[in-house]
């Protein structure tokens, strides 16, 4: 702080002496001013100095250049594409955005440069997954300039040595969510190292954190993890043991998987008839009580209120065994075994256990995958037959199976369910629609739209409104091939004035649906146009 500023800060009334006359070239201009008016002199000298300094401002010198982004090797987005993408970003329509980003990936179009910061700021992991491929050379370069965007590097499958150093830092200092992300990433490329890191700190972590870290072991799970997971079975927190047990049963050769298979086999007894050994009945007989070894393996020792303890054991044990095991063990198909268990005292828990096991093992065991459709058919039949709580329960089972099913199978099953629902008043099955993998096939899309049109053309009640509500999902899930079917004229049933609000609501849904489809159509057309132009 120079003397003039010091004097002004303290005040001339407190600052003794004359107004400082620093060796400033501008002060020569003020030589004739009276020395006795100190305030006048101070202000004029300050003003003159300020003007002099303003005119003679010097830049910061020797600033190092930054290495620019390398040349982009993918197609650039047009301004129109950028505008549509910006709208999707601004409205937080992440489902639309994901669809757009996937289209751009397909056409090898990179994100418009001005939207890169917004895209890199996205926190939704599903959006981030889709953002990564369209960042292009420039986006990846930009992400290295801002530590907040390090997820671009962390999200890549390959972990280099320098990446590993960055991961180690996050592992040491990060939040539990960030540390779980580190484990998930490391498990993809170096599961042993991830296990070492986790086991080194495992005992000091809170039970909830131990569970979260352990859950990431599902990535890159191998027999090498068994000793550590076996140790976790004895964890003082039951939830940690149960998580470890769920992981161990995914390893078919693990000691726990074998123990569970043996326990399950002891529960199920097949009755056959005649020399052809035709299956007549499958019975389930769980033990009356279990020992501590069972509990150590994740089988609950206590049941929640309203649940039978033995039923819970059946469910837990059977859920731990790949369903294909039963086809081999008994020599019967999934359909036959499902048929045979019906009417047994433990029919529900057995089917529930098998359903969970099928959903769990379908991805890694093609023989268990064969169980998905028979189980779907069973529960879909129950949905049609049953009412109330039973129907709701069956719907829950369908929800469990749906994410593991192949798209074709799932769409066929869903279309059958919806076709039945379109003729009746039940709309609960429509809740499954959001679980169907997207984008839908053109066949399912057009088939589903035909059902919606059929319902809306003949009804104008609350059921019609519920069907119209599905257009929100359809607008985002329909493939481009189904756009013509979506944009064809819509016919809505005429109604009395008393139900006008429902018709209005239906009209609004249709209007919004068509707007979304037109936006998507415009975006797709622009993507195709960009690909052709460049």
């Amino acid at each position: 702080m120079d003397e003039l500023t010091k004097m002004a800060l303290v005040g001339t009334s407190q600052y003794g002496g004359t107004v400082p006359t620093a060796d400033h070239p501008a002060f020569a201009l003020l030589a004739e001013l009276p020395e006795n008016d100190r305030e006048e002199l101070l202000l004029l000298r300050s003003g003159t100095q300020a003007v002099y300094d303003l005119a003679g401002h010097r830049p910061v010198m020797n600033v190092a250049a930054i290495a620019p982004a390398p040349t982009e090797d993918c197609r650039k987005a047009s301004r129109k594409l950028a505008g549509l993408l910006q709208n999707a970003l601004a409205t937080n329509a992440s489902d639309l955005l994901i669809g757009f980003l996937q289209q751009m990936q397909g056409a090898r179009i990179v994100a418009p440069p001005d939207l890169l910061p917004l895209l890199l700021d996205c926190t939704d992991p599903a959006v981030r997954e889709q953002v990564l491929p369209i960042l292009g050379v420039r986006g990846r370069w930009l992400s290295t300039q801002n530590p907040a965007w390090s997820w671009v590097q962390l999200g890549a499958a390959h972990v280099s040595e320098s990446d590993q150093a960055a991961l180690q830092k996050t592992w040491d200092d990060g939040t539990i969510a960030e540390r779980c992300q580190v484990v998930a990433l490391l498990r993809r490329s170096n599961p042993e190292l991830a296990r070492e890191w986790v086991s080194a700190i495992f005992a000091q972590e809170k039970p909830a954190h131990r569970v979260s870290l352990l859950e990431e072991f599902v990535t890159g799970l191998s027999p090498a993890d068994e000793p550590f997971l076996e140790k976790c079975l004895s964890d003082r927190a039951p939830t940690v043991g149960q998580t470890a047990a769920r992981l161990l049963c995914r390893l078919p050769a693990s000691a726990l998987a074998i123990r569970m298979r043996d326990r399950a086999a002891a529960m199920l007894i097949a009755e056959t008839k005649g020399s052809s050994k035709k299956l007549t009945k499958l019975g389930c007989s769980p033990p009356e009580k279990i020992d501590r070894d069972w509990e150590r393996d994740g089988v609950p020792g206590k049941a929640p209120t309203g649940r039978g303890l033995r039923a819970l054991w059946v469910e837990t044990v059977l859920a731990a065994v790949p369903p294909a095991n039963w086809s081999t063990h008994f020599g019967f198909s999934a359909d036959q075994l499902i048929e045979a268990i019906l009417d047994d005292q433990f029919e529900g828990p057995v089917l529930q256990g098998w359903t969970e096991a099928a959903a769990r093992f379908a991805a890694t065991d093609s023989q268990s995958e064969l169980w998905l459709t028979p189980l779907w058919n069973h529960w879909a039949g129950a949905v049609e037959r049953m009412k109330g709580a039973g129907r709701a329960l069956a719907l829950e089972r369908l929800k469990t199976l749906l994410p593991s099913m192949a798209r074709g199978e799932a769409e066929r099953g869903m279309l059958n369910l919806f076709t039945a629902a379109a003729d009746g008043d039940h709309v609960e099955t429509l809740a499954l629609l959001s679980l169907l993998p997207r984008p839908w096939s053109a066949e399912f899309g057009t088939g589903f739209l035909a059902l919606v049109r059929q319902v809306l053309a003949k009804r104008s009640d609350n059921t019609a409104y519920q069907w119209a509500n599905t257009l929100f999902i359809a607008g985002r899930a329909l493939p481009a091939d189904a756009f013509p079917a979506a944009l064809a004229d819509w016919v809505v049933a005429e109604v009395q004035k008393s139900a006008a609000w429902q018709v209005n609501a239906v009209e609004r849904e249709i209007d919004q649906f068509m707007e979304v489809i037109q936006t998507r159509q415009g975006f797709f057309a622009e993507v195709v146009g960009t690909a052709h132009r460049t």
Partner: protein
């Protein structure tokens, strides 16, 4: 009840010169709500009739009624038949956004009569205005009364400036440490006194002082510099008759005397050029909005500041869109450094910037221009222009604009990621306003196009 499907394909026509980007249209909006409402109209279904000609864009928008929307491409003037009190309204914004996003949606057509009539009225109005300014006043001016009013105002201003002088001296007598905890009203009270003394320009300068205390570690020095420059202004006002007429005009304008149209016609300097609107920002000060547009001539390289004010949600008188250029004449206000200007005459249509921006090729030459301007007009608050071939650089938590010689100036604000993403670390032309401490980034030309900021 049938819902007809909407056409989704448009006839392909050649794009016209009016190719504003979506961002430029958004910048024209009076507020973010209007911009959002305009965006909702960016679909052909809302527009039963759309068209364009070399002179205009038009469309009929289906709202609660059918509104007629027109845009004059000669000067971006607009009109809508809706009753909205916002200017431009969402319909005008919607039409411009639609044109920006899907230029092919508006095909070239013969101008309908309702657009023709409007354009004809606008042209007639402009001609009347020009004729009026050229003709002598219709009613005789009461020169005596005018002189008396001027004398009275002169006395009021002198009185107000004397009180300001006392206030400034009081401040440095008691010490600037005492203002650190003063409320905003401390500054506003003095500002209001200057408004009462008919010195509104100086009143704004005093009001702006309130943002300096505690704003940075060197706030005392900055406040003292501003108070000192204000003292110099009072000193100059006391010796007005000894100053050169151009500098005296500057002093009077800073204090708050307006330059009348008649004065501008007499003393304004007309410069013809292809004028590039390199950047713009709006200062929201209480109820008054000030639009500051920096303009640089392609041939003359001259910088100009077009200042517009609006109050109570009224639109700015002229449509000045950053990132566009237009051939025409700028009329520069009198002063030692003729910086402030208005469009006198425009030719052709408004076009988006397609080529690199005119401006300074180094930070040294930009600062030299600033120095030359300050040496003639010491109360210059800001100086705008273009730094050509510079890069945006991050330095810790702060940002810099760096030229090829390694010289740099600090950027105002903490988030310039968009500028970095657009320029990708490569040299680009950056439009700036320099206040002596920091650069305000107003826009940049990179990758063959202009980007609003």
């Amino acid at each position: 009840m049938r819902f007809p499907s909407r056409p989704v394909c448009f006839p392909i026509v050649a794009a016209s010169a009016m190719n504003l980007t979506l961002e430029q249209v958004v910048q024209m909006a009076p507020d973010s709500a209007s911009a959002a409402s305009g965006k909702k109209l960016v679909a052909v279904k809302h527009w039963p009739e759309l068209g364009r000609s070399p002179e205009a864009l038009w469309g009929k928008c289906q709202g609660s009624a059918v509104y007629q929307v027109k845009v004059d491409l000669a000067n971006m003037g607009y009109n809508c038949s809706c009753p909205s009190r916002k200017f431009p309204c969402k319909h005008v914004l919607g039409l411009l956004m639609l044109t920006a996003q899907s230029p092919d949606a508006l095909s070239e057509q013969p101008t309908p009569s309702w657009v023709d009539d409007w354009l004809a009225k606008r042209r007639a109005r402009e001609e009347t205005k020009e004729a009026k300014s050229a003709a002598p006043p219709s009613t005789p001016v009461d020169t005596k009364a005018r002189e008396k009013r001027a004398e009275q105002r002169g006395a009021n201003v002198s009185d107000g400036l004397s009180r300001l002088d006392l206030w400034l001296k009081d401040l440095v007598r008691t010490g600037l440490a005492s203002v650190e905890t003063k409320p905003d009203s401390f500054w506003q009270e003095q500002s209001k006194r200057l408004v009462d003394a008919q010195a509104p320009g100086l009143a704004s300068r005093v009001a702006r002082l309130s943002s300096i205390p505690r704003s940075s570690p060197d706030w005392v020095g900055r406040l003292l510099a501003e108070l000192g420059r204000m003292k110099l202004l009072l000193h100059a006002h006391n010796r007005l008759e000894t100053l050169e007429s151009s500098l005296a005009s500057d002093v009077r304008q800073i204090i708050g005397w307006n330059v009348t149209q008649a004065e501008l016609d007499q003393t304004g300097e007309e410069v013809a050029d292809a004028w590039v609107i390199v950047g713009q920002w709006i200062d929201e000060d209480d109820r008054i909005r000030s639009q500051r547009s920096w303009v640089v001539g392609r041939k003359t390289g001259r910088s100009a500041l077009i200042l517009q004010f609006s109050a109570g949600g009224h639109p700015f008188a002229d449509s000045i869109v950053a990132g566009t250029e237009q051939t025409g004449t700028l009329v520069f206000y009198p002063g030692a450094v003729r910086l402030r200007a208005n469009f006198g005459h425009r030719e052709g249509t408004v076009a988006s910037i397609q080529n690199r921006l005119p401006g300074c090729d180094s930070i040294e030459s930009f600062l030299a221009s600033m120095a030359a301007a300050v040496s003639q007009m010491p109360w210059l608050n800001a100086f705008g222009g273009v730094l050509r071939g510079v890069t945006i650089v991050r330095d810790g938590e702060s940002w810099l604009v760096r030229d090829s010689a390694g010289h740099a100036l600090p950027l105002r604000g903490a988030n310039h990621w968009k500028a970095l993403a657009i320029s990708a670390g490569h040299p680009s032309d950056v439009a700036v306003e320099w206040d002596g401490h920091q650069l305000r980034n107003l826009g940049l030309f990179a990758g063959g196009q202009y980007w609003n900021y």
